[in-house]
């Protein structure tokens, strides 16, 4: 660019002298968010618990004392604390600890994968609809309305029921379930942001649609969309487990918390503690995601002053 100061003869130094200017760093938005989260014990504890769950799922092959798919019929249904089986054994004599560790993998996948894919698809669609408005918006939003006309569990069950059981179909049906709400949220957030003056200003500066989206709109819509999505992960875990519980989700002998809950249901009168374990883990994981979502939401709320 040309220098603004040169013709004016003003007291300002030349532009080039600004190249190496020492600039005072500002903590910035994310630093503020980080600071707020660090002051929020509930979110920190939830994150820590979740981290433990995620790590143990990832490290399941290392941590698990037994093969989660091989049991010994002679030591079936042993209670928590039974010798050699810290958390007991299930109805076919498989080690509960190992199955719970491995089960976390499928349950977390069932929670995170559909929501992530739905975020990718639904977020793009919603942001596109909100950003361009007009006919594009109408087409995307009306189609979304149709999907949105199904209560989420009903849609998941219907799709799984028709496609058949299995992990892939579970993930597919849950993805389809989460696209419409994400499209809606993304669209409404984007429409709001798009009508703010700074986007107009950026447009007035000659930026193309892509640059506007990339630099002006996206950074401002991603955070609220992400926060909303985090709470969906919790719902996804519960729904996936619910599908398995109905016999429509992943199929036996997969180690998955919902499926384990279903097959251990029979043991609830015999060993309630054992039967409750997968339920407790589903609950804990989903609770953590919800609490983290809440924590992020209030930490990202600009109206609150630091």
């Amino acid at each position: 660019m040309t220098s603004y100061a040169k013709d004016t003869g003003s007291e300002f130094p030349s532009v080039s002298s600004y190249r190496d200017l020492k600039v005072q760093e500002s903590p910035g938005y994310w630093a503020m968010v980080r600071k707020r989260i660090l002051r929020d014990p509930v979110t920190l504890i939830s994150a820590a618990i979740l981290l433990v769950i995620i790590l143990s799922a990832i490290l399941a092959p290392v941590l698990a004392p037994y093969d989660p798919y091989v049991g010994n019929i002679m030591t079936r249904m042993k209670p928590v604390g039974f010798e050699g089986h810290l958390l007991g054994t299930d109805e076919t004599g498989r080690d509960m600890l190992s199955r719970l560790l491995f089960g976390g993998r499928l349950s977390l996948i069932a929670g995170v994968v559909p929501v992530s894919i739905a975020l990718l698809i639904g977020g793009s669609l919603g942001i596109t609809a909100g950003f361009f408005g007009g006919l594009v918006n109408t087409v995307i939003m009306r189609v979304t309305d149709v999907f949105y006309a199904f209560p989420s569990i009903l849609l998941a069950i219907a799709i799984c029921g028709m496609l058949g059981t299995g992990l892939f179909n579970t993930l597919l049906s849950l993805t389809l379930v989460f696209i419409p709400p994400i499209v809606r949220i993304s669209e409404s957030v984007t429409t709001q942001v798009r009508n703010l003056d700074f986007v107009e200003a950026a447009r007035a500066s000659g930026a193309g649609s892509f640059a506007l989206m990339r630099y002006q709109v996206l950074p401002n819509v991603l955070a609220p969309i992400l926060v909303y999505t985090t709470s969906l992960v919790s719902l996804s875990i519960i729904l996936a487990a619910g599908l398995s519980f109905l016999g429509l989700g992943v199929s036996a002998p997969a180690a998955e918390w919902g499926l384990m809950l279903n097959s251990l249901r029979q043991m609830i009168y015999i060993d309630p503690v054992l039967a409750a374990l997968p339920g407790v883990l589903i609950f804990a994981t989903s609770m953590c995601f919800n609490l983290i979502s809440d924590g992020l939401r209030s930490a990202m709320d600009v109206r609150l002053k630091v």
Binding site: I73, T92, S263, Q266, Y269
Partner: protein
């Protein structure tokens, strides 16, 4: 006014007398939790397999040839039902003559006679008749593939001809129940309407049907056989596919009787004062292999390997002793078991060796998909048991996929040949079967009964076994028949058209108030002797 007062007094008096009268005959109400996921249809041809027959078949409707369910000590056999007697036409071994029981009335008051029998035969076997019933027909024809034609000889005599001679035909006739034609008129010739107020000849009549919720049966005081007039006033039947739900319902006093309690809960139930009744009955819980081209089980070595790969003792342990190992269609102790070359012990090494011979190995396991139901008549605990099988068979080189469906859908799959849509690409069906008589051997193992004709789903058949079966069908001498049957059975064990797994011991749990129940060695039970004692 006056009249009304006297009327009231009269009503009161009569009421007192009536209640006194009923108090004498008060057998109470028996509430039963079934394993089916729906109320079996009440049109006289119940679906939901033999559980449907057990509760909404024989108690309400009767066959020409009935079952004797009065003893717990010996396998139940057939006895005269709506036919007083039957014999083979001396000139034609395919023609059976049934002499009908006189003075029998349907619940609606209409008379039972040869026309009623013909009308019912048309219901199932004549697609052009107005009373043709697709759903019922599908079930009856599956169980009775050999009926060819019929003729009314006189009002009380009917002749039925089979497609080929079959010594066991009376057994097959026990699965066709007789419903009232008159009631069909009342129901505007609509089987669906009929099911709301059906009419049979049995010791109970259907008095209330709430779809998917319950059926209420009430005692038929006018039952033709005074010895079998029911003691119970009412029976309420509830579908409860979830074992846990059944257990909770029994333990919380919502029902008096549950079918198939979870085996692990049995000690607890007994400890809490419930009676758990078990008895042997002609039951086998197998995988029925698809033996046609393209299935891994087309190869006899794979089928045998599978039989060696199963830890039957493990399943018995899993079932907490409510099952017995099965090494063939019949129990090993049965005289009909014969002497097969293969003794299917748990022998993974032998299984692996057989698989290696058939071209499989550790890096190339046998991939197979098993279709089963989550619950159902005689299915025991299909999910857990199959999961266990899947687990143990993996050691011997089987990579098993499980597909769970609903009991009704599994029955439909059984009626359709492998590879068709209802079978969901399964390589084997896990469905339990009756093994009560030799009629089943032909149904399950003769190539002429390959699905969709009858229940030989996997289209098994060898010239040798077919020939033996043909011979048995035309052998009317009992001793000779038994000899041939044992010979056939040994061959079937060696050919392994099924994965023989266990025989069920048929656990059912009931509250201590349930009295008079005799656990027959049969799929069916007599409820007329049962009563509730508070």
């Amino acid at each position: 006014m006056k009249k009304s007062v006297t009327g009231k007094i009269a009503a009161l008096l009569i009421g007192t007398m009536l209640s006194a009268g009923t108090a004498l005959a008060d057998g109470g109400t028996l509430r039963i939790a079934m394993t089916s996921s729906d109320v079996p249809v009440t049109t006289g041809m119940p679906n939901n397999g033999f559980e449907g027959m057990r509760f909404l078949g024989y108690p309400v409707f009767e066959p020409l040839v009935d079952w004797d369910l009065s003893s717990a000590d010996k396998p139940a056999d057939i006895r005269p039902g709506l036919a007083e007697s039957w014999e083979i036409d001396p000139e034609d071994t395919k023609r059976w003559i049934f002499h009908l029981r006189p003075d029998v009335e349907f619940h609606d008051g209409s008379a039972f006679d040869a026309d009623a029998v013909v009308w019912n035969l048309e219901r199932f076997f004549d697609e052009t008749s107005p009373q043709f019933d697709q759903a019922g027909s599908a079930i009856v024809r599956g169980r009775n593939p050999i009926l060819d034609s019929w003729e009314k000889i006189d009002d009380m005599t009917v002749a039925i001809t089979t497609k080929y001679p079959a010594s066991y035909f009376p057994y097959i006739m026990s699965y066709m129940l007789i419903a009232s034609p008159a009631a069909f008129e009342t129901a505007n010739s609509d089987w669906n309407e009929y099911g709301k107020a059906p009419s049979g000849t049995g010791p109970f009549k259907v008095t209330n049907v709430t779809p998917r919720v319950s059926v209420e049966l009430s005692r038929n005081d006018d039952y033709w056989n005074p010895d079998r007039i029911a003691k119970l006033d009412h029976i309420q039947l509830f579908p409860m596919p979830e074992p846990t739900t059944r257990l909770a319902a029994l333990r919380s006093g919502q029902v008096d009787w549950i079918e198939v309690p979870p085996p692990d809960a049995i000690p607890g139930l007994e400890g809490a004062g419930f009676n758990v009744v078990t008895n042997t009955y002609p039951h086998v819980w197998p995988w029925e292999f698809d033996t046609t081209e393209g299935s891994p089980f087309a190869d006899v070595r794979v089928r045998q390997a599978a039989n060696y790969a199963v830890n039957r003792e493990g399943i018995v342990a899993l079932m907490n002793g409510t099952a017995a190992p099965a090494k063939g269609f019949f129990d090993v102790d049965s005289p009909l078991f014969g002497s097969p070359e293969n003794d299917y012990t748990y022998d993974p090494e032998k299984a692996r060796a057989l698989l290696a011979e058939a071209g499989y190995g550790p890096d190339n396991p046998v991939h197979a998909k098993i279709l089963t139901s989550t619950s159902g008549s005689g299915q025991m605990l299909p999910v857990q048991m199959n999961e266990y099988l899947q687990q143990t068979m993996a050691e011997s080189g089987f990579d098993i996929d499980l597909e769970m469906t609903e009991w009704g859908s599994l029955l439909v799959a059984l009626r359709n040949p492998p590879g068709t849509a209802p079978t969901m690409d399964a390589d084997a069906l896990n469905i339990s079967f009756a093994s009560s008589d030799i009629s089943y051997l032909a149904k399950y193992f003769h190539s002429k009964n390959a699905s969709p004709v009858s229940q030989n789903w996997g289209a098994f058949g060898t010239p040798e076994t077919d020939a033996l079966l043909d011979q048995i069908e035309t052998t009317f001498d009992a001793e000779k028949q038994a000899e041939l049957t044992a010979e056939l059975h040994a061959k079937i064990v060696d050919q392994a058209p099924w994965l023989f797994i266990v025989h069920d011991l048929n656990p059912r749990a009931m509250s201590e108030h349930v009295k008079g129940f005799v656990s027959a060695q049969s799929w069916f039970q007599d409820l007329t002797s049962v009563y509730i004692e508070e």
